[in-house]
């Protein structure tokens, strides 16, 4: 069965405002965010993902990635590609750095799973 998404947007927003960006990322990724079904909530999930990814600075990325498990990394890669798909001003450059770092941790397998998995970001 599919896990329904249980994204606690308030908690995540409060973590972001207290600059606990990596915590926000971990919480977001473990809330099955790809399980969102209806288009409005999907956009909201993507927007939230985007804010978190942009908030984390390049220097913090390696540390963040080392704290994520395999499944979370797969979900992260899905949102990175979702970000490429619908870019904001200046987002792609930052996402490219994210992509490079996640890729060196997961190899091509996570990219294959972005394409092959039924549940998309």
């Amino acid at each position: 069965g599919d896990d329904a998404a249980i994204i606690d947007a308030n908690q995540i927003n409060s973590l972001l405002s207290s600059n606990k960006n990596v915590e926000a990322l971990k919480l977001f990724l473990s809330s099955s965010p790809t399980g969102v079904k209806d288009p409005t909530s999907k956009k909201a999930a993507r927007d939230l993902a985007f804010r978190i990814l942009m908030a984390i600075k390049t220097a913090q990325m390696d540390g963040a990635i080392s704290q994520l498990d395999q499944d979370s990394l797969d979900v992260l890669m899905k949102f990175i590609y979702a970000g490429f798909e619908s870019p904001y001003e200046g987002s792609s450059g930052h996402l490219l750095v994210w992509h490079e770092k996640v890729f060196s941790a997961t190899g091509i397998g996570s990219v294959v799973r972005v394409l092959a998995d039924k549940r998309k970001a």
């Binding site: 092959a116 998995d117 039924k118």
Partner: protein
């Protein structure tokens, strides 16, 4: 040499291959409607001895029964043929009406060779057996709960249970018990009641979808079932421990074929063009071992001969360098793998065919590979 390339016909992608029981003859299909038989000559080259030409469309799978020496082929033309070699050496065909309205995708003889299973795009598995009276192959259908194309089938050693992988991202074990031709089977770890088409077990490759299933394989005793999916994963289900499924998501490209080469060892090959070893521990957990050869995706390029050619290539191809070869023996995805010498408990040599039209034989007992195999934690 650990990996040796054999030339069996032109360098056109090979869809599938199967060996005769004495391993002197190989049946291959080069992505067309023909099945070609090649026999190895004393010098090491391969001569074409027969062409089996009855199908109208591409042959998708071949299987060669070792004891009865019968070949079964299935094709996109929705048919299967059983081929029997006469005393004169010529192969005679018998059409098998599968009663499907889509392409047949995969075929395997059962261990006792009195049945064969054909997967198809019609969401049906046809189980075919010989009606002795009428001398005619009869097909019975397994339909529920298959929702999509069956891509791969493998038999349990008890000649009754069949595993099937599907493009609905699921792996299933069915009973193919046909009371007309065989005694009632005794219970196994997969269950006790086995009426025909009974679903004994079903596994979802992943809660998030998981990609098409490309290959399934029972181990020697039939207690474990392994499969590979298009989400670059390999998984093993263990029946005795209560159908526990352990999955490993790899960092590699997806695998297309899978073999048990030891009681705890799997060999998988696919889009990375090289077989990779996997180890299954007593708890069923899968861990990745080494590739059978290093080389990765090295682009060995040769610079164009002159300045003029260099600019010509820059213009035409967008790059200066002209050639690119993979560092692996195979230059394209491996889609079919067979045990050439040995069995599922101890495989000594394995054969692979790929989209580059090459047949490669891997000697697992040779120096370098043997070291890799023993280095795998037992």
């Amino acid at each position: 040499m650990a990996a040796s390339i054999q030339k069996v016909g032109p360098a056109i992608p090979i869809q599938c291959h199967a060996w005769s029981s004495d391993r002197q003859t190989i049946a291959v299909s080069h992505n067309d409607k023909l099945v070609e038989l090649y026999k190895q000559q004393p010098g090491g080259s391969w001569n074409q001895t027969d062409i089996l030409d009855q199908h109208d469309l591409r042959v998708n799978d071949i299987d060669w029964a070792p004891n009865t020496n019968r070949i079964v082929t299935c094709s996109a033309d929705r048919n299967a043929y059983v081929w029997v070699q006469g005393a004169d050496g010529k192969w005679k065909h018998t059409l098998v009406l599968l009663r499907i309205n889509r392409a047949a995708t995969c075929v395997r003889w059962s261990p006792q060779e009195n049945k064969f299973a054909v997967g198809s795009g019609a969401r049906i598995i046809s189980i075919c057996y010989l009606d002795e009276e009428k001398d005619w192959w009869v097909a019975k259908h397994i339909r529920k709960p298959l929702r999509s194309t069956i891509t791969t089938v493998d038999w349990h050693p008890n000649n009754i249970l069949l595993a099937a992988g599907c493009t609905d991202f699921k792996v299933r074990v069915f009973s193919t018990y046909i009371k007309e031709i065989e005694p009632k089977p005794s219970a196994t770890e997969w269950g006790a009641k086995m009426p025909f088409a009974n679903l004994m077990a079903e596994f979802s490759n992943s809660p998030t979808g998981g990609g098409w299933i490309h290959a399934v394989a029972f181990n020697e005793e039939g207690t474990r079932l392994a499969w590979v999916g298009h989400d670059s994963s390999i998984a093993v289900a263990d029946a005795p421990s209560g159908m526990v499924m352990m999955k490993l998501k790899t960092n590699l490209l997806p695998f297309l074929s899978l073999l048990w080469i030891g009681p705890n060892r799997l060999l998988a090959a696919g889009h990375d063009c090289v077989p990779v070893l996997f180890h299954v521990d007593s708890a069923g957990k899968v861990s990745q071992g080494p590739k059978l050869e290093e080389g990765g995706n090295v682009v060995e390029a040769t610079a164009a001969a002159s300045a003029k050619n260099m600019f010509k290539n820059k213009d035409r191809l967008g790059q200066e360098l002209v050639d690119s070869r993979l560092g692996t023996t195979h230059q394209n995805q491996i889609n079919s793998m067979r045990i050439l010498e040995g069995n599922k408990v101890e495989a000594r040599r394995v054969s692979t065919t790929a989209g580059d039209g090459a047949l490669v034989i891997w000697n697992l007992a040779s120096g370098a590979l043997a070291v890799k195999l023993t280095a795998l934690k037992i």
